[in-house]
Symmetry: C2
Subunit: 222 residues, 2 copies
């Protein structure tokens, strides 16, 4: 059952993995919200006013107050909205463990993945190696668990989930197979897509691939 | 009154601003702990085992479990140890606000400050301008408040406090005056040093300056 929440708005960009984290968290909590997609080449006054420091999406607006930075938004959603899912565990050590791995994803995957998608030659090879290393570290942390939060789908799953839609693109440009290098991670990627919150928040991998082909055409192969 | 806590250990480096954040938080909570200073050129087996992913200090070890990354450690300390100080406010919006600004300090001050301290010529000029901009943003956020958390000393104060010992060094190499550019920030820097937790965790600004003079001699002016 959806829980209508007055005054919840998400400023977002259609393919942002950071915005998708917020969408998944809101879906897990069954919060209804206004989804305002931004044109990043012409940012709205509302976005500039809501996040004057970074001027970036995503921004969650709740009761007229804005919350910025995706992982901070996800923690806020967890603290404010009741629901079947507890995104963070209640035990302080388990919370710090989840925060550590969400932070690892945050610092490593996007930067390394973007490097891979924007480079060629030797630089591409290095980025490739780096990203596989990051994935292997995450594979080790996941181990035999169902989710990163063990039986509970949680913060780390939400932080990393959007990048599963990028696997196909990483493979196409990097020339490696996530399935072969990190079979547990690949299986986890399929498993989380069985959750409605994830399935409805992510895009088809080919759509991400098409976008990066366009970007490469303009900035890398030009 | 000190609250003895069995099994609390902090792996640290003498002048690390990240380690200092943990020291301040532990002091605010009046937690007694074993302070193990690392030689970063020869990291201990305990450090490598406790933080196998980043292999970095600070690491807090509590009841045999390790917690890594300074802001995550500070939140853990707040959640686990009682004390007079609540490092994070109880209101979810105020919590997200504090997390946003602590994250801002985390992402901006160290990187930009390090750039300034390691560069010369045009690059130094640019780093200078960038750091002053970051300080002005923090000055605006501080405004007329006593602490970043208003009347309560909290997460953002702890995140930024260690860098007040770097002001003198930034000024010496960057050629600007924090006092002149950001008078409120300079006054806040003096105010927080009146707290025992901060005073005993930070070093004399000249000690930081001497270290960076050595570093510059080796890597910048060589």
């Amino acid at each position: 059952m959806a829980v209508p929440e007055k005054g919840v708005k998400l400023l977002d960009f259609w393919m942002s993995p950071f915005g998708q984290r917020c969408r998944i968290a809101l879906a897990e909590k069954e919060v209804e919200y206004e989804h305002k997609l931004e044109d990043l080449s012409k940012k709205s006054d509302l976005l500039l006013k809501s996040n004057p420091v970074h001027k970036k999406i995503p921004v969650l607006i709740h009761n007229g107050k804005s919350i910025c930075e995706s992982l901070i938004i996800v923690e806020y959603i967890d603290e404010v909205f009741p629901g079947k899912t507890n995104i963070l565990p209640s035990d302080p050590y388990a919370r710090s463990h989840a925060r550590f791995w969400a932070d690892f994803v945050d610092k490593k995957v996007y930067d390394s993945g973007s490097k891979l998608l924007k480079s060629k030659g030797k630089e591409l090879e290095e980025a490739n190696k780096e990203l596989i290393g990051i994935f292997k570290t995450l594979e080790t942390e996941l181990g035999e668990k169902k989710y990163f939060g063990d039986d509970a789908f949680g913060l780390v799953d939400i932080a990393f989930a959007p990048f599963t839609s990028w696997f196909y693109t990483f493979e196409a440009f990097g020339g490696f197979s996530v399935e072969k290098e990190c079979p547990k991670l690949a299986a986890w990627g399929k498993r989380i897509k069985e959750r409605e919150s994830v399935a409805k928040s992510l895009h088809e991998p080919t759509k991400v691939y098409d976008l990066f082909c366009e970007i490469r055409k303009k900035f890398v192969d030009a």
